[in-house]
Symmetry: C2
């Protein structure tokens, strides 16, 4: 069945029937705007991400359920990076006429499943046909007490740089998909990343990080954003970067990919944050409490830019610092 057979409003009715109706949603799907209530004393956090077929995903290997989950996850990761609590999502899709209704149903199921897991309610959005590919645009709203919100701009010389989980898996997974592989842990990391919202909130609630960002464009690019906003430099011990066992098995440590994936591979959706040395133990405790490993990978300096040092004490210069959607078009 195609979407044209049930129509736009039929499709919206199908979606709204699957969405919960918590007390803080006064008006959900089906009016001109959603009406929602924030917790007393909290400020509004808002982030939008667009996923475009042929740019962010390829329907040759993206299953619709994971794509639905990921569309929300990339936004959840932004709320995690602010230390916020995700609350309400708006989902807009531009749908090519040839896309089967089954695909859309599975996509929505994935989106809503991930929303439920993270305590998020779908409150609105838009549907349109598309003359190009499938385009997904999500706005996620969260909340937090203003004094708990963590920005990119608070890193100070002497702070320790920490990162959650492992790096490079998503870039490896994408490469495996391009080569024709269709399963494995790295591929799942790429297709269905798990944002670190419990960790982000736990760190923020205890006011531990001096700055925080999620690793979406690659470690060097995202650390670069913290440094630019904070007016600081950084020194990173590249042999201390946390790597998964599947990554270490799949990628030769002497290969150029090894450094490229770990330093510049995007879409790991880990949290990168800075913490003063006296709060490092608190960060480790918060990490343990939230079930996510955290690794110290370097320190903030009063200089400019990023100095990469290997375990032999040598300096390393990367080929490129990260991903820019327009640098190559």
């Amino acid at each position: 069945m195609r979407l044209s057979e049930i129509g736009e409003f039929g499709f919206i009715d199908r979606i709204s029937g699957r969405v919960g109706n918590p007390e803080e949603v006064v008006v959900g799907i089906g009016d001109d705007a959603a009406v929602t209530v924030l917790s007393p004393g909290m400020v509004l956090l808002s982030t939008s991400d667009m996923l475009v077929e042929g740019v962010h995903f390829d329907l040759a290997w993206s299953d619709p359920y994971s794509l639905g989950r990921k569309s929300l996850s990339v936004n959840l990761s932004d709320i995690a990076a602010m230390g916020g609590i995700p609350k309400f999502a708006l989902l807009s899709v531009a749908i090519p006429p040839e896309l089967p209704l089954d695909f859309l149903e599975r996509f929505i199921e994935g989106f809503i499943a991930q929303a439920v897991s993270y305590g998020v309610t779908l409150t609105g959005g838009d549907t349109s046909s598309s003359r190009g590919g499938f385009v997904i645009s999500v706005t996620l709203q969260g909340e937090q007490y203003p004094e708990k919100v963590v920005r990119r701009s608070g890193a100070c010389a002497g702070d320790i740089i920490c990162v959650s989980g492992t790096l490079g898996d998503s870039a490896l997974g994408l490469q495996m998909l391009i080569k024709g592989e269709r399963s494995g842990a790295a591929i799942m990391r790429h297709l269905d990343p798990q944002p670190r919202n419990v960790l982000g909130r736990t760190l923020a609630d205890a006011a531990i990080p001096s700055s925080m960002i999620d690793v979406s464009d690659g470690l060097l690019a995202d650390l670069g954003h913290i440094l630019a906003k904070s007016g600081t430099g950084a020194r990173v011990a590249i042999d201390s970067l946390p790597l998964s066992s599947c990554f270490k098995r799949a990628v030769e440590s002497s290969s150029p990919e090894f450094r490229r994936y770990t330093l510049s591979g995007g879409e790991d959706y880990e949290l990168l944050f800075t913490v003063s040395p006296e709060r490092l133990d608190d960060a480790r405790s918060a990490a343990e409490a939230s079930g996510t490993a955290v690794t110290a990978i370097g320190g903030i300096t009063s200089g400019n830019g990023i100095i990469l040092v290997d375990s032999a004490g040598g300096h390393y210069t990367p080929e490129s610092s990260g991903y820019d959607h327009f640098a190559h078009v």
Copy 2:
């Protein structure tokens, strides 16, 4: 110049340099999420609309400045229809590589000009390249006291149905554009609609409407949404529909287009609302105070569906009730 020459972050920097920084924006463009503050006691209103090249606009006749304005206006109209106060916008764009940077600059200028006019601050969004056409996705956030918010569901039998401004101009303008014309009032109505936010808020602040919606899909379709949500019917006097002088000059009242444009033409972005007979004078005063004409066009009935009556007392049956983005694909 192309966007590839300045890159994604260069483009974002250019945008953020043009955006104001009011007190209620704690963190604007340039972090993982925007941080904003709502007025005490108010709830959050949120709406998203996507505009897709080849579906909602045609670059053969859409100038970028008006397109930027309209991208916000269609969302402003949704906030107006809830009786809300527009506050914060997130703008996401998927940009084809061939689109000149000049076009984007003018598009952003139009968007920001309209934002400034309506008291809205751009707080975030996303940029991506596109393999298809230009795609625009806007989320607009507003606020209002919960008891002032106007929904679609409050229409009661006996209420008067009112509409602001005039109907059919946008559909006429689109038809003129398709025929190759490039100027005129109807064309401007289509390319650069003016949402009725002052009227919507004035009506809501005085708790005048029992229900409200904006006319984006066409009078019959949008009135149909009110009826469906309210569980009522309606009787509309089709010869009382407000028409502009340019519309009356351009469209023969005996032509099939005359009824089609006024009853089913979309994108007029007028407000359609219901009001109890004893509040009709208040509605007229509110309309006068906000400088927008309001016309009574019929009444809510306890029946089902819409009965159209002409001035001779005859019943009229329309060809189609409104626009569905997927009914024809």
